[in-house]
Symmetry: C2
Subunit: 482 residues, 2 copies
């Protein structure tokens, strides 16, 4: 621990009690790595403020002392966004003690949740007032509101509700000088200059530390229907989605996967059964919901809408879950895809997006291009077709060691995939963010003007790189201007 770090830790304990800082290495250790074990950092202490006022004071003190801070919630980043630098130069600033739901109102359809509130706890709090916070994802039992805001998280319900950016009415955040930005008032219209809430959402803690958020709630779900479709191509899948959307606003999820991914999930999950009897090249999980018990329920709706497409041959086969247990079983197949594919061998995974209309073709052409360029590999994508966002995996050729793959080939594969994405007008990070994993690729591929703008914003807020250093973007070389 440097002398400056020691002074900061001592000041935290003096001001806010012994719980305000953890220095026991055994207690720190679990928070030094990302959950996939790809990034390993070091930190001599974890600061644990219990309130916005404490965060404000610690950030101001850290700036005075020149100590870098790595904000951390559930530590479920997919891109090493919450892992400290490996040289121990930064302290972790945990928001986990700030886990209060400050307010929740069914009448206003709003909740104010502190940064450390775990997503599944917010789901439960909303349910108790007959409401729903619609964003959800695999890590809902771990991910926190602060991290979800800071990474503009997506998940499986984006089709209808958008990403966090659409669901956050405003944030409270501590700016790099310790000042508190209070955007919690949840004004539906507010044009007082540049939108600081929107700037902080997705900034990965590099411009300020989000301490709470006002979140939009929606009517609770009365009924849902989960269907499974077999079809011939991603292009047909998108046509099915467009047909459904023309008839109803009830579609919340539309997840595509190829036959190989389904096979991997079936092999990975004990007791899992294939949803359809026959073989199909592509599969779709579709979910429709209803917020009232009246009228045609979502199962009947889905059945009616799918019928004509089955008759036309646009869909080859379809099944609708007959019970909540069956619906859960279908979702388990979807949720297992990442882990199931990892179990098949070393792979390079890419969280990418292109315009929705271009995605069906991109899925096929990118996979073919990868397999041609890297013989023996297997490439395929699955995920959020309706959002133009898939997780595109390239698996190592059989027999290649994990070490050789990750050291030698995977980075080259990823650059190749990212080049294809950029050529298609897409994004190399659809929902996971940049963190440390994609920083070099962002710097390689961003438009020079855009990169200069990102760096200028970072320099304006945090010129000494004390907030989440090494993540998202580094400062510009001296003399660069936007």
């Amino acid at each position: 621990m440097t002398p400056a770090q020691s002074r900061l830790v001592a000041a935290a304990r003096d001001a806010f009690g012994p719980r305000a800082a953890v220095t026991d290495p055994d207690l720190i250790e679990p928070w030094l790595h990302d959950w996939r074990g790809r990034f390993h950092g070091a930190a001599p202490a974890i600061l644990q403020p219990a309130s916005t006022a404490e965060v404000s004071r610690l950030v101001a003190l850290a700036r005075e002392e020149g100590v870098a801070l790595v904000p951390q919630g559930g530590n479920s980043s997919m891109v090493g966004g919450a892992t400290p630098p490996s040289d121990g130069s930064a302290l972790i600033l945990s928001l986990r003690r700030m886990n209060g739901v400050r307010a929740i109102s069914a009448a206003d359809n709003l909740a104010v949740a502190e940064a450390g509130v775990i997503l599944s706890d917010l789901h439960e709090a909303a349910a108790t007032v007959g409401r729903r916070f619609p964003l959800t994802l695999g890590a809902r039992g771990t991910a926190t509101i602060g991290g979800l805001c800071s990474t503009n998280a997506g998940g499986t319900q984006v089709l209808r509700f958008g990403t966090m950016r659409s669901l956050v009415a405003g944030v409270e955040a501590v700016l790099p000088n310790g000042a508190v930005h209070d955007g919690l008032a949840a004004l539906k219209k507010d044009n007082r200059g540049y939108d600081l809430d929107q700037l902080l959402i997705g900034a990965e803690g590099t411009l300020g530390i989000i301490t709470a958020a006002s979140l939009r709630l929606f009517p609770a779900i009365a009924a849902r229907a989960v269907g499974w479709l077999g079809l011939d191509s991603p292009e047909q899948a998108l046509r099915v989605l467009r047909r459904l959307e023309a008839d109803t606003e009830a579609i919340e999820s539309f997840e595509i996967l190829p036959a190989g991914s389904l096979a991997a999930a079936l092999a990975y999950l004990p007791d899992a059964r294939a949803p359809l009897a026959g073989q199909h090249r592509w599969h779709v999980l579709v979910e429709a919901v209803s917020t009232t018990a009246q009228g045609e329920g979502p199962s009947a709706l889905l059945e009616r809408l799918l019928e004509s497409m089955l008759a036309e041959g646009l869909i080859k086969d379809a099944a609708i879950a007959a019970s909540e247990a069956q619906a859960e079983a279908l979702w388990q197949l979807r949720d297992a895809l990442s882990a199931a594919e990892r179990a098949q061998g070393p792979a390079a995974q890419h969280d990418i997006s292109v315009p929705v209309a271009a995605m069906p073709r991109f899925m096929l052409e990118a996979a073919a291009a990868c397999e041609a360029r890297f013989p023996g590999t297997h490439a395929s994508g699955f995920g959020h077709l309706g959002d133009g966002n898939i997780h595109f995996h390239v698996r190592a050729a059989p027999g290649m060691s994990a070490g050789q793959w990750y050291r030698e080939l995977a980075p080259e594969v990823s650059r190749f995939v990212h080049d294809l994405v950029v050529a298609a007008g897409g994004s190399i990070s659809a929902e996971h963010g940049i963190g440390q994993m994609k920083r070099a690729e962002l710097e390689r591929l961003a438009a020079p003007g855009d990169l200069a703008a990102l760096r200028a914003i970072k320099a304006a807020f945090d010129p000494h790189e004390l907030l989440n250093p090494g993540k998202l973007v580094t400062l510009a070389p001296a003399g660069a201007t936007i």
Copy 2:
């Protein structure tokens, strides 16, 4: 014209032809004032690029020459946001020649419109493909896409569709160094760092010049119903809205006005008739729409939903327009409110928001507080109750001259109103922006940390204040940090 300005004008004509710059004072004159005649500026020339490449070149040249530029579309700002400085130090950069709809797709529900496209022209273009761009406002025949994006415009359909920020999938903009930011790809998910699109939306041309936008389209309206309600209080009006929203997603507009505003509109509009027979203290215009011709139409829906509230006495009286002509007549009453109130005498007008739930009480208490503090004045608000946004007008005491009012009392009244708004956790600019009219008030009332952040962003992008100088925010005093 300064030598630097002359060189810029000459370079524009050399490179892009005679139409690229206007120097005839008669042709410039109409663009030197805001439409309400409150702000008067001077400019020796108007630059008129015809493409993004031309804007890029002109912005780069202007930076080299140190010449300030005031971007201008329809010049319908409510806050002097497009009026040049009075000392002639800036040239106007008109986007009006860039008026092409580059692409429009019903399948993708997207249009790409250049900055100079007039809103009503976009409405028509969308209609030709069976789609609709939902944002609309009184100045739709004048306001341009670039200005609407740059001011994050609102209007009367925000209740369901949000402001421009929600409707813009991405923007193309020329950054202060001439680099082009291309965010037009309309990716539904894109987490490549700070969101430059969102930063440029609402930045009033002070960080870059928006040259085109990807805009979200929605299904065209098949039928609409416009109703007029008489009731006792804003609080009852909000209860009616909440009841409607619990039963349907069809409500697009919900505009409140007091009896006095209706009387002013009836006096102002020739041939206008009162929508209801009796007298009521408060009135509401409500619009419900349907995008299909099937099922219960919006008139029947509205009638059914209002019936029980009439029976309960929550609504005192209601009428639903029986024809499109009647519907238009109701909307004309609403659209005439600003002009009608101006015709009653000098007034101070405020575009303000507070949290929706707090608005009913705020409307009454702020009016009473104003009238008590400034004897003889008449204070009242009307507008977008469901957005928590009203236009709050304070009319001068009878007999006071316009000169005396605007010079002496109106600024004090506005500061008083803004203090009430801030105390209620609201915004002094809900939808009109800051421009030059509200800059001093923003600097007086913004949280110090927020103001420092706005200034730091401005300094990072435009350290010499060459883009729309004097609007939104000025640079920080030397040495200030965020």
